[in-house]
Amino acid sequence: MASPVGQNVGYIDGGERVRGQVSYVLNAELPGCLTAKVLRSPHAHARILNVDTSKAEKVPGVVAVLSRNDLIDNPELYPYFGPVIRDTPVVAMDKVRFVGDPVAAVAALDEDIAQQALDLIEVEYEELPAVFDPEEALKPGAPILHESFPPQRGATFADIVFNPGEGSNVLNHFKLRKGDVEKGFAEADRVFEHTFRSPPVQHVPLEPHVTMAQVEAGRITIWSGTQTPHVIRAQIADIFQAPLSQVRIIVHTLGGAYGSKCYPKLEPLVSVLAAKAKRPVKLVLRREEDFLTCTKHQSIIHLKTGIDKEGRIVARKATCYFNAGAYSDISPRLIKNGGYATSGPYRIPNVWVDSYAVYTNIVSAGAFRGYGVSQAAWAYESQMDMIAEALGRDPLEYREFNVLHDGDTFCTGETVHDMHYRGLLLDDAKKAINWQDGKEAWWQSPARTASGTKRRGKAITCVIKGSVTPSTSSASCKLNEDGSLNVLTSSVEMGQGAKTALAQLAAEAAALPFEAISISEPDTDSTPYDQQTSSSRTTYSMGTAVTMAVNDAIDQLKALAADQLEISPEDLETRDGRVWVKDSSRSLSYVDVIRRSRVGNILGNGTFATTGGLDPETGQGVGSVHWHHAAAACEVEVDTETGKVDILQFHSSCFAGRVVNPRLCELQIEGSTLFGVGQSLFEEMLYDDGHLSNPNLSDYMIPSFEDVPPRLSVAAIEHSAAGEVHGIGETSVPPVMPCVANAVYNATGVRITELPLTPEKILRALKEQGS
């Protein structure tokens, strides 16, 4: 029996998926369950003077109405939450801070009644000046969103570096100091300074945010579409001041997430409402409300780069403003990743980074596939081509000249290993689009300017991305008396194929067929701790924990078999569901060993914890347990009459270390690439005075079949020396946007520094170029 690892095993529940039988939380039902609706702020920033819910409460069919009146001076509930700092109220307390901020909620017999009651809630506001741009929010006299920081409660994540800006709109400031950046600039031959901007965009998981909660006999049970069940458990326990054991989070397969379902979203409001209603309550967001849950961070990045005579990057200073929106969510961590990412995969001896998360009066920003690296890569990979042009170098050759090699030092001060840009990723990208050295860049082929309204250009980019470090995953397994294996994990299946990949790894470790493995859904009452399903960490971190748990069970099995065979466990090996005496034909099936020993089942446990972290003052240390890296290559055609960009070909190369399931890897990389295509060309949340003007799929477009580049290919690249699994869930998002922009430049000589690359922007730039 060959190991299923490395095979194209289909989804573990493929049949249910095509029958429409996946049990999303959207489908979850409980007897007596009420429907919830949320009243939201019409103002971007306002003080709440009064909330009157009395009329709403009298509507027949309304069971409970929740507002700040239930939370003020209520010793039983702590009304704030947040994964790093508790700045987010369950419903608005003193102020509202963005258009859409939850102010009250109704639980009623059905949606129509709930809506009718919402319309009867009377809220008196005193409008306050609002601020929407992160740089504006830092100016003296700007309206302050959070006058003071709530006291720290409970634990946060070990990797968080927290330098809050008390009394200002600075939520957090990440600092990185490596070498002597001013000396680096002084000694540089040339210095380049540019600013790059990217807008907030939305994840648009087709299954919206859904939460159902029941509070009964002191136990809080929540069914939620979340990527972070254990974070939710801790936060809900904090709100209710209950022990973790009294809070139960159950997660079903998610209909897409992409970061949007990390950390508490609907869970605090729905559970507190259920407690008041004394009945189960379910809240399903409509699409326009889902746009109000979280976004990718809008960013403004100032990049100053010093180059020596040979073209080496000798100094880089990055000042990054990430728009955190109204509440903290996970911004305090994201600006760290986005901050150190501005060095890119390049050898730079002197680096200075100031990365700020800034409160403003728009929807809170949170985790988004690419996690800060997309914003950083948009800046540094655009600038890389701008520098190559100034130096008259080939953009690919110039990257290869500066890119990290094994043994080099990253900007965090750590020595990097397993770097495969040269010789693997960049070669793959180059080959895919038939890149001709010295001929592809705008400045190398001035003949392009000649004529024609359809201009073609190519580009190649590359990025580096960390995975949250330190982090912890644990898993358990039950080897059953019939030789089947239950694996208990809190990893969330959200389309990435986690359950399938984990079953493949478990089958390999257990020497059992793939079909003998069952992977649990997360349920914090029974499945062990996992930090989060995000950061492209599951196959590596949870995969390792699952393998450890299975090995633990197999060791016990061998000990039992050793007794039965009267031989030392060291002389035994497992193969094809049997325990064999090495170099012999003597064996016992797992079934026989377990039944004869009368243990019922064998329980195995595994915990995998990585170590690392960065110094709060210098950003030096270990940023990631290992580094994810990717390259991208594309060819575009720009219509100079309409400004429209057609991506004719796109190729993504992603380093995978060891591939567990080739087809699932392809799907992840193709999906990441299309996420990047949408962000390159059209995705953007548009605000008008704080009001989101395109919260629907008519005005906010996501890629359809017609946006798929006619030639789209991906490569999950393995390397025999690196047996370690590398996450591939999002590394191929960040290289896309600068790749498209650089290709547009090479086609037209037009440089766009603010995403997305809309026809309007390109036409305007072409016009300016012509004049």
């Binding site: 289909g10 429409g20 996946v22 087709l206 919206p208 799907l667 008519s698 079949f705 798929v708």
Partner: protein
């Protein structure tokens, strides 16, 4: 205001009392418990709530439930519950999904496409399925699955 409506869903006729402003999507989920029909956008842009009405794919979020009376309504639950329908099998074999929230809509639209055009070109597939959105971006594998399904159905026809 509630109204009694007789709906014919997956070959079964059932009388249900529906609010006149409720959509077919609401009623299929809430009354018939057909959870393959899913709201993605609520405005007919994403195709996740696609059902077949007399064989034609429509967005059930846009059709008021009483207006579906007298028509044959088909959801993916009617396809191959015992043995997978060749289109479903092609989606499984080509791993043509990730989160699979959009999958029933794609399968039903594909069914109509292959009835109208049993041997479509890749370009025709892309154009026909452009109203079904897959945020996970599984489009390449979906294209493979649809072309594969076309082959399977043609073979089935040839051997029948």
């Amino acid at each position: 205001m509630k109204k009694l409506v007789t709906l014919r869903v997956n070959g079964w006729e059932q009388e249900v009392a529906v609010q006149t402003h409720h959509t077919l999507l609401d009623v299929l989920r809430n009354e018939f418990k057909l959870f393959s029909v899913r709201e993605g956008c609520g405005i007919g842009m994403c195709g996740a709530c696609t059902v077949l009405i007399d064989g034609e794919p429509i967005s059930s979020c846009l059709l008021l439930a009483p207006l579906a009376a007298g028509k044959e309504i088909t959801t993916v639950e009617a396809l191959g519950q015992e043995k997978l329908h060749p289109i479903q099998q092609a989606f499984v074999d080509n791993t043509a999904f990730q989160c699979s929230y959009c999958t029933p809509g794609f399968i039903l639209t594909t069914k109509r496409l292959l009835e109208e055009n049993p041997d479509p070109t890749p370009g025709e597939v892309k154009e026909y399925l452009a109203g079904n959105l897959c945020r996970c971006g599984s489009y390449l594998k979906i294209l493979d699955a649809v072309l594969d399904a076309a082959k399977r159905l043609q073979q089935e026809k040839a051997t029948a």
